[in-house]
């Protein structure tokens, strides 16, 4: 108890120095948490993938479509429970800055994604309206979409001005569920294409396949691809997670850079903290020598230094973590639908705490060792 009192008072001895170090630590822990959350957000799609869903696409590239009749062949593969085609629409709402994913989907699509929670009456209204659309809650909140609103979208891949009517808003079953998407009828797209660009009609970008048993996913994938071997459009079927990670891999270098920067921030604050503790211990060497002269052992003076370093680290951790949540929330909202899910994960919080603990311990190592081993007569010379 007396030791804790001494540590506490020593920590507050140079309020400005401690305050500035604490501030640096808070900024570092906060920055680290935000950068880690950005990386996590990138992987959110993969994290939200279901193990019983497969994605079948053109084996050459995702930009090449698959014929509509593949759907029935895929449905016939043993182990397949449901299939729904989808096309990436890639349109612009008002301004190119307003990015959100738009998909033209078949009616059965939502049955394969039970994590998209849609009210029955809204789903029925969507099914009845050829130009109907279902939007995610986050997307609706970002752009103020309400049921009944008309949403004009300028086609980029499919030229022209397209209009949709919001018939439903879906919620996510979990926090990690992506609610920033915009879905409309593939039939509407296809009918229009038949009139304007007939050669591009009756094709899907991907097929989403639901397997009856997740354990059979690999075997079903092989069986699907086998169906189309040596055809004009061979397929590549993979789990939804692998498909999503494939997208993330395209920006992996950027993610690695963000991760490195997040750890560099920690290394920088470690240097600052180590400098603070070195200065502190050097100034108090006479006091440590006095304590040792009075009979306190090297362990006691080490404890004082480690305790002070950890007290500052603890303060920085608590404040840094506490600030991460509101700032991440603000940042996520500012980013709109760029990051479908921007949540501070438990893993990130644990990493923040671990980094702060490491900073506290490592920063105290050398000063504590010096104070513990300094000869009493040498330490006492520091006074006067």
């Amino acid at each position: 108890m007396e030791t804790l009192k001494l540590i506490f008072r020593n920590t507050l001895r140079h309020k400005l120095r401690t305050g500035l170090t604490l501030l640096g630590l808070v900024v570092a822990i906060l920055s680290f948490g935000l950068l880690q959350t950005v990386v996590d957000a990138w992987y959110a799609g993969a994290e939200g993938a279901a193990p019983n869903r497969l994605i079948t696409r053109n084996a050459i590239s995702l930009v090449f479509p698959l014929p509509v009749h593949y759907r029935d062949k895929i449905r016939g593969v043993e182990g397949v429970k449901a299939v729904a085609g989808a096309n990436w629409f890639g349109g612009v709402y008002q301004d190119v800055k307003n990015f959100f994913p738009q998909f033209a989907v078949e009616p059965g699509y939502f049955a394969i994604y039970p994590e998209y929670r849609i009210k029955n009456d809204e789903l029925r209204a969507f099914e009845r309206d050829r130009k109907g659309a279902i939007v995610g809650r986050k997307l609706a909140e970002t752009y103020g979409f309400k049921i009944g609103d008309t949403v004009p979208i300028r086609g980029q891949i499919y030229p022209g001005n397209w209009e949709f009517t919001v018939q439903g808003i879906y919620d996510g079953a979990e926090a990690k569920t992506d609610t920033s998407q915009f879905f409309f009828h593939w039939d509407y797209l296809n009918e229009t294409l038949k009139k304007r660009f007939p050669t591009r009609a009756s094709q899907f970008g991907v097929f989403v396949v639901q397997v009856a048993n997740a354990d059979d996913a690999a075997a079903v994938s092989v069986a699907i691809d086998k169906q189309f071997r040596n055809s004009t459009a061979e397929t590549l079927t993979e789990t939804e997670k692998a498909f999503q990670i494939g997208f993330v891999k395209q920006t992996e270098a950027l993610l690695i850079a963000i991760r490195i920067v997040s750890y560099v921030v920690i290394v920088i604050i470690l240097a600052v903290m180590a400098n603070t503790m070195a200065m502190t211990a050097r100034e108090r060497m006479g006091e440590y020598a006095t304590l040792k002269a009075l009979g306190f052992g090297p362990g006691f003076v080490s404890t004082l230094i480690y305790g002070e370093s950890l007290a500052i680290a603890l303060g920085g951790t608590v404040l840094g973590i506490a600030l991460t949540f509101p700032i991440a929330d603000w940042f996520g909202r500012k980013m709109g639908t760029l990051f479908p899910v921007f949540e501070v994960g438990n893993g990130t919080v644990m990493l923040q705490a671990a980094c702060a603990l490491a900073v506290g311990v490592i920063a105290a190592m050398l000063p504590a060792r010096r104070a513990a081993t300094v000869r009493i007569v040498d330490g006492l010379r520091a006074i006067g």
């Binding site: 001494l6 040792k292 002269a293 009075l294 009979g295 306190f296 052992g297 006067g384």
Partner: protein, 240 residues
């Protein structure tokens, strides 16, 4: 019979035999103490005098167990302290030595009471006992009304009196004082010396004081002079 003669008649609490100390500086051996032999009796108030660099502080450090001799035997209360390892020596100091430093060496973040209480943290005394003893020690040095003051709120003389209270709180075998008046004005110095005099006279504390001030040394019962690391003349001040 004088107090000095009384003390000399008692068994020595410190027995120094052929002690030498040298340091190695820049690859060269620098002798500081050469063949020192000295006895200090229990209850003595002895002053170690000598010019700067004579080795008096080094000898005090050896007696107090914060430094080790290069050669010779140094027994305090029957314990050969040169043979103790660092951990044993720390325990031994806690039980046997009360320190008074020139610059007081109080912990600035602790109050006068907490500073005095500090050595008792190494004992098994409870918080209440520690507090009562520290209050009594502060009362004894005339600072009963300053218990909650921090060192920065006390004068130099008061800080040194707190340091004296800290030095005697564990009832040590020896009180060692290194230039205890060196940082004080004349009036405060006299107060501190009078207090040391009382500790020796009334409580029978064995005090070894390093000083280069003849006025301070005159308060001791015995004065041992050191010069260039060797013992020189030994005197008994007239006041003793």
């Amino acid at each position: 019979m004088s107090a000095a003669v009384d003390a000399a008649a008692r068994a020595p609490v410190v027995e120094i035999r052929h002690v030498a100390k040298h340091y190695v500086r820049g690859g060269q051996i620098v002798p500081v103490l050469t063949d020192i032999s000295l006895d200090i009796a229990a209850g003595e108030f002895m002053a170690l005098m000598g010019p700067s660099g004579s080795g008096k502080s080094t000898l005090l450090n050896l007696i107090a167990g914060i430094d080790k001799p290069t050669a010779g035997s140094l027994r305090v209360d029957g314990v050969e302290i040169a043979a103790l390892d660092e951990g044993e020596l720390a325990d031994w100091r806690a039980r046997n030595i009360g320190f008074i430093f020139q610059f007081y060496n109080l912990m600035p973040v602790l109050t006068a009471l907490e500073n005095v209480e500090l050595p008792l943290l190494l004992t098994r005394l409870g918080a209440q006992d520690r507090r009562e003893r520290a209050e009594a020690a502060l009362a004894m040095v005339g600072l009963a009304d300053r218990v909650d003051h921090y060192p920065s709120e006390l004068s130099g003389g008061q800080q040194q009196r707190v340091a004296i209270a800290r030095a005697i709180i564990t009832d040590p075998t020896l009180v060692v004082a290194d230039e205890p008046t060196g940082d004080l004005d004349r009036k405060s110095a006299d107060d501190v010396l009078a207090l040391l005099d009382r500790l020796n006279g009334e409580l029978g504390k064995t005090i070894i004081m390093v000083t280069h001030d003849a006025n301070s040394a005159a308060r001791a019962r015995r004065v041992v002079n050191l010069e260039k690391g060797e013992l020189r003349a030994e005197t008994v001040p007239a006041a003793a």
